[in-house]
Symmetry: C2
Subunit: 363 residues, 2 copies
């Protein structure tokens, strides 16, 4: 079991990671939350798997527990669902020192986190991620939010949890596609800042995906969290170093939007996004062809849906310009300069480069 500290402008919070660490929830709540009442927010699937067990564990420690659940899926991140959650919190009588526990994957963390950030101008939030993607990425760093009919994640807040509790043994109930989606972000951390993690993934990707090598799973989760904690500490609002975490997300987001969020899970789109970013890194001379091919070999071991036959470079390039991460100054990209090394560059002609890339990957 290890504890990492994430430092933000307003203070710091611990990230506790370890197989079996879920049993420490009552003790951590006692230490980090003033109230003796919690609201657990979860989708129906996760609530069915873990809701009752956690409720009993907390109740025997003297905490009142209320459970709210909703239909799984990205669709839950909308203003209607959020308003329903607010109403439930008010009617349940949740007060400003009570805790909200986001128990689930990225969608739950985003929705419950944004509710915690904005209900009564902010109540204590606890992140208990159950998906690999949420463990290695979304539960740490304070991003919360919902979608708007005109775009994904356009409404939200940076809001620090009181603590994050990561128990990799919860991954045993995860769907294989969700596992791949989380592994994509794991590969991202290797590519942008950790050659050793990258090498570990090259050696044992499939054994990690199948959870056969639980030590490697725990190690990978810990490394990703440590890297994320380091990158976001002191840059919660993404003005500086945190931007390197957007590696692979420029094309990834464009691809998700262009396909109406119906084909790819987030991490699956990011696999395509990383292949695109590595290609551009090679084309612009940041890495030699040999290194580009090495990234291709690992990234193609993550099995994801193919690109749609009718996708065009122009459509993707147009979407990229509308990404909310782009400032009014223009398109800037995170490019690799080696395994574990990146730099951010302004890039012109991204439509042309995307066209060349499409020709390359579909050849």
């Amino acid at each position: 079991m290890i504890t990492l500290d994430v430092h933000t402008g307003g203070g710091s919070y611990p990230v506790v990671i370890g197989t079996g660490s879920l049993t420490r929830l009552p003790e951590l709540l006692e230490r980090h939350c003033p109230g003796r009442t919690v609201a657990i927010i979860s989708d129906e699937r996760v609530a069915g798997l873990y809701g009752q067990g956690i409720r009993e564990m907390l109740e025997s420690a003297g905490t009142s527990v209320h459970l709210y659940h909703f239909s799984p899926g990205e669709n839950a991140k909308n203003s209607g669902r959020l308003n329903d959650l607010y109403t439930w919190l008010i009617e349940t009588g949740i007060r400003r020192d009570d805790g909200i526990i986001a128990l689930g994957g990225g969608v739950t963390g985003d929705l419950a986190g944004f509710a915690a950030a904005t209900y009564l101008r902010g109540v204590p939030l606890i992140q208990v991620p159950t998906s690999l993607l949420a463990m290695v990425d979304s539960s740490v760093g304070g991003k919360t939010g919902i979608n708007h009919p005109l775009g994904k994640n356009l409404i939200g807040a940076f809001y620090s949890p009181r603590f994050v509790l990561i128990d990799p043994s919860l991954l045993t109930t995860l769907h294989p596609r969700e596992m791949t989606s989380g592994l994509a972000e794991t590969v991202k951390y290797g590519l942008i800042c950790d050659p050793q993690l990258y090498a570990l993934l090259e050696q044992r990707l499939e054994r990690i995906a199948s959870l056969e090598d639980s030590d490697a799973v725990s190690h990978a989760v810990q490394r990703c969290c440590a890297l994320k904690a380091e990158v976001v500490s002191g840059d919660e609002r993404e003005n500086g170093p945190r931007r390197i975490l957007n590696f692979g997300h420029t094309l990834g987001h464009a691809l998700e939007a262009e396909t109406g969020y119906s084909i790819y899970r987030h991490g699956e789109a990011i696999v395509w996004g990383m292949r695109w970013a590595c290609f551009i890194s090679w084309q612009r001379g940041c890495i030699p062809e040999e290194l580009f091919l090495r990234t291709e070999r690992l990234l193609t071991r993550l099995i994801v849906p193919p690109l749609p036959a009718d996708i065009t470079a122009n459509a993707l390039a147009g979407r990229m310009l509308h990404d909310k991460k782009q400032s009014s100054a223009g398109l800037s990209l995170v490019l690799v300069t080696g395994i574990g090394r990146v730099r951010i560059e302004p890039v012109t002609g991204h439509a042309k480069l995307t066209e060349r890339w499409l020709a390359h990957v579909t050849a």
Copy 2:
């Protein structure tokens, strides 16, 4: 012209105060906001008075200006209006380094402030208050939010503006009832922490209300902002000293809620709330009767709607328990111990005390 600095966990921001200071808007924007585009959010009345002038001033300084306006009134603070504002921001193409200017009273500051806090997870916010209440209270301190069908201000965020620009000459277009509402909060600052301000108000209340004594107006606004800046600095989230600002708000909020927000403007209800809090202070021996009568003499010079004939102590006392400011520990009240001095005390038997107070004020 003076500049105060408000310090928060995440940094600090300036509050610029002075008659005619509105002309400094272009220069302050240039210094504190990265983008060259702003969205001005205003109700129709304020937009009609000041929108065009500010637009021209900013455009001649090279800034692109977009104007969004809505029907005046507390009703604007709902999730439907907020979603409409989000849609407008997206369609207008406002990006993360562009600024949102909240130009108006408390409702505009709350609504536009919350939109700025949550659009793209936060964009630069500028508060330009046009009402006395917003100048002396709501524009400083970072509170933003909207109402929920089940209660006022239940949804919101603490979000610091980049700067606050207060020009008391904008008060000339204010409705007299709004002036009284703002004066109520001004009296509050005198009562809780500034005997000199209190004495000034005793001497010149009516001349300040009519704006005949513009020096006294400026002085009162500056003192309130300085006091608020001091109180909220280092306690943005209301866990400590900031709680004294709730003086008069426990009964005030209950009265507003019990009358369906249809009779009193916020400050008008706070006048009743302060009279109640002073009465309880006297009854509990925090101040002698003579001092209680002195507060009555000033507070009754603020002309506000009378209490409804059918109001009951039980109804008000019940509402108080549901105030979001109350933690699960029970009712705690800000009481005066002298002019300019307060303490916070747990109070039991508030229903009985309220009954006695009703008998006293309606005698």
